[in-house]
């Protein structure tokens, strides 16, 4: 076990834990943002540099500060380490710089982007960035690439976090896409036009921190903050798929199905394409109750935390009383 001090708070974690995960153990607003790190994916992290922190003391044995800021997602803790995140002016300034870098070639088309409202980059920029840019050159753009009937790849929005590449490597049994090119010409692609077709390929949509990979069956259907997330499960025939999902309702319609995510936006269990793309009827699912979304403030700002109603009751209610219930919830679950 190693004891570290993170922003003045002491926490004890097993050896080999990353600084980021130690901070997540404390929780709250001191947790560094992460755009590329993804706990379930081996080898991810260290690329976006959003989670840079200052190590004021390396360890109890060697209390010298580390010369550069380190990526907290890939740097393991040492006993006696002292880490500064929000308490360091330098870290906050650097983070502003990272936001600026990530945004200079981002199209900022949030008003038409399906990811808006649950976008890591949007949250990150909103919390840490500045609202103007000093970049005046032409932005990098790409043609949309067709990778099959279910998933849309829009490279212009991509921040090259490599998550979808790791997902395809580790979750599916055949990766057909990867990173091509170098520097700011690097792009996600299949090189020779190819369809990403795999029972678990839909998970790349869930892991994408921005709107570069979106669900073609949900595109332009609805803004996410107008939909209501509901936990549900079904008996999936696919052996690797747990069948536990979140259904996103608009009225009585299931607009999309996603995997369940934790408060840091990380998928808990990867689901198969059948659950994601084909089961879009309430009757396909056993409803468990409203899903609580911790992190994406825009979704949480809406009062979807309605009482637990079983699916039969929802189905039988007239439209007007559903709206009534929304406006005057009889009790509030969660916080």
């Amino acid at each position: 076990m190693a004891k570290i001090t993170f922003d003045g708070i002491e926490v004890e974690v097993p050896d080999g834990t990353s600084i980021l995960n130690a901070a997540r153990k404390i929780g709250g607003s001191i947790v560094p943002p992460a755009m590329c790190y993804y706990t379930p994916l081996q080898g991810s992290g260290g690329k976006c540099r959003a989670c840079l922190v200052r190590v004021a003391a390396g360890s109890a044995k060697d209390p010298r500060p580390m010369p550069k800021l380190v990526a907290s997602c890939v740097t393991p803790v040492q006993d006696g380490m002292v880490v500064e995140n929000t308490s360091s002016e330098q870290v906050l300034n650097v983070r502003k710089g990272i936001v600026e870098m990530l945004l200079i070639n981002h199209p900022l088309d949030c008003p038409v982007c399906d990811q808006a409202g649950e976008c890591d980059l949007q949250n990150f920029a909103f919390e840490h960035g500045v609202s103007t840019t000093r970049y005046q050159e032409e932005r990098r753009t790409f043609e949309k690439i067709d990778i099959g009937p279910l998933i849309q790849l829009h490279m212009t929005r991509c921040i090259l976090c490599y998550r979808c590449v790791y997902t395809a490597n580790q979750i599916t049994d055949n990766r057909v896409h990867g990173v091509l090119g170098r520097g700011d010409a690097a792009e996600i692609g299949t090189y020779i036009e190819n369809v990403i077709d795999n029972d678990f390929s839909g998970n790349v949509i869930d892991v994408c921190p921005v709107g570069a990979l979106t669900d073609k069956t949900f595109r332009f259907k609805q803004r996410v903050w107008f939909t209501k997330p509901v936990n549900a499960h079904r008996d999936c025939s696919h052996e690797k798929c747990p069948g536990r999902v979140v259904l996103w309702y608009k009225g009585k319609d299931v607009l999309r199905v996603t995997a369940r995510k934790d408060q840091y936006g990380e998928v808990k269990e990867f689901i198969c394409n059948e659950c994601r793309f084909e089961k879009k009827e309430t009757a396909d699912w056993v409803i468990e109750g409203p899903a609580h979304i911790d992190r994406s403030s825009v979704i949480s700002a809406n009062h979807y935390e309605l009482p637990v109603l079983n699916q039969q009751i929802i189905a039988d209610l007239p439209e007007s009383s559903v709206r009534d219930l929304e406006q005057n919830p009889p009790m509030k679950l969660g916080n």
């Binding site: 840079l52 710089g97 990272i98 990530l102 200079i104 050159e137 990173v179 520097g183």
Partner: protein
């Protein structure tokens, strides 16, 4: 005349063949090390010699070797970094093409010291003809019993392979090199773990520059203590300097560390002064990634002392008034050189060579290049000059590998020392963009 330790026999006819090389004292260090020394004794000699890595960072080689993890029953690797691609640096190419056996001898002795039974030379893809020279030399070494099983009857086995890269600058970064050698995309790894613990194929690995490895036979032959007597202070031994730019005699020179910079530029023994009788304007002392210095600062430190060709003297004054010895790519520029154009040119290189893995470098190198392009072509504004410094600062220190710094330092240094020239480009765009335009200098403008 300084002593030549590495390049003493470089011009001997047929030195690239085994027989001639052997006749001139080749492979003596292998015999000495394998027959009379333990691996630890070799490491000890290298430590005593004070040899510092010749690839750019200047980290003591002996120290690096002693960090190598040595778990039981796990293979270790030595990898020679021959991916020399820094603009201005071309010393390793010469060394390998003329003296292939010196590198192989160094590889055998070093591998023995580290306990590696398989070693690799990762060579830049463009140097295909050098790869052929090395392969021929390796075949000769195998045929003469210096490579393979039971070398010289000592019971020590070594296999040596040469592997060409695809010609990416980033693969000169040691972890990107290892990724590339493993057959993956050449992206630098996050550190820790360091290669000394988890390197090639997740095994303990040492990565050394060609010139560092070539110095090992010399050190073993003359002993570390003797080697340490050459040079000044912590900069010991000799160093190959590849001099280019506006010099009368550009080329590769082996110097004893401690040679005054002024002597190196102006003496007839070395570069022979600036061409066409012109004035020196600026020098990039260690390959394109180190900060550029104007004439006054490269010849004398701020304390008024002569600047010497040593790691310490060149970095005297930090980055405010100093630079780095780096990899020894010495670029001299005469008074007609446009610093803005030169900085843009360097920036263009780093923009092209960034691997695109981490965001500050991927986006920042392109941004720097575009702003510099704007300034050079007369579309710049005064704010752009501060923008350059600010963007460089946002990249520096926040990236996975040192390429970010390599891209940021030259830009920041150019603005630091030649700000008036950048301002002249903004104020007089028509004059500055005219073909053959020469910045008249602060004094003339005032």
């Amino acid at each position: 005349m300084g002593r030549k330790l590495l390049t003493e026999h470089i011009n001997v006819e047929g030195i690239d063949t085994f027989e001639v090389y052997r006749k001139h004292g080749g492979y003596r260090s292998v015999e000495k090390a394998l027959k009379t020394m333990t691996p630890d004794e070799v490491v000890e000699e290298v430590k005593k010699s004070g040899l510092r890595g010749r690839g750019g960072a200047g980290f003591p080689t002996g120290m690096k070797w002693s960090f190598l993890a040595k778990p039981e029953g796990v293979p270790r690797y030595l990898v020679c970094n021959a991916d020399e691609s820094e603009p201005g640096t071309f010393k390793d190419r010469q060394l390998m093409s003329k003296l292939p056996h010196l590198l192989i001898e160094g590889m055998i002795t070093s591998s023995y010291a580290l306990g590696a039974n398989t070693s690799y030379i990762y060579i830049r893809g463009e140097l295909l003809y050098v790869l052929r020279i090395l392969e021929k030399a390796i075949a000769e070494a195998y045929a003469n019993g210096f490579l393979g099983k039971n070398i010289l009857g000592s019971g020590y086995d070594l296999d040596l392979h040469v592997h060409p890269g695809g010609g990416a600058y980033i693969c000169g970064e040691e972890t990107a090199l290892l990724e590339s050698l493993e057959g993956k995309r050449g992206n630098p790894r996050n550190k820790p773990p360091f290669p000394a613990v988890q390197g090639l194929y997740a095994r303990p690995t040492v990565v050394n520059n060609v010139e560092s490895i070539a110095a090992i036979p010399v050190i073993v032959n003359m002993t570390g203590d003797e080697y340490a007597k050459i040079g000044v202070g912590r900069s010991t031994g000799t160093k190959l300097i590849s001099a280019c730019g506006h010099l009368n005699k550009p080329g590769i020179y082996e110097i004893e560390l401690g040679l005054p910079v002024e002597e190196f530029i102006y003496s007839d023994e070395y570069c022979g002064g600036i061409w066409k009788g012109r004035e020196l304007k600026a020098v990039v002392a260690g390959g394109s990634s180190v900060p550029i210095l104007p004439k006054e600062l490269i010849l004398k430190t701020t304390a008024g002392e002569n600047r010497l060709m040593t790691y310490e003297s060149l970095s005297d004054g930090g980055f405010i008034t100093g630079t780095m010895l780096g990899s020894g790519g010495f670029i001299a520029m005469d008074e007609t050189t446009c610093i803005v154009r030169n900085t843009w040119n360097f920036s263009r290189f780093y923009h092209h060579e960034s691997c695109g893995q981490c965001s500050p470098c991927r986006e920042g190198t392109g941004w720097l290049e575009k702003v510099l392009h704007r300034l050079e072509y007369g579309h710049g504004h005064m704010e752009d000059i501060d923008l350059l410094v600010s963007v460089a600062k946002q990249i520096e220190g926040n990236t996975i590998c040192p390429l970010g710094e390599a891209a940021a330092w030259p830009v920041a240094a150019a603005v630091r020392h030649f700000r008036d020239e950048f301002e002249w480009h903004v104020k007089h765009p028509q004059e500055a963009t005219r073909t053959g335009a020469v910045y008249p200098g602060k004094a003339v403008l005032a």
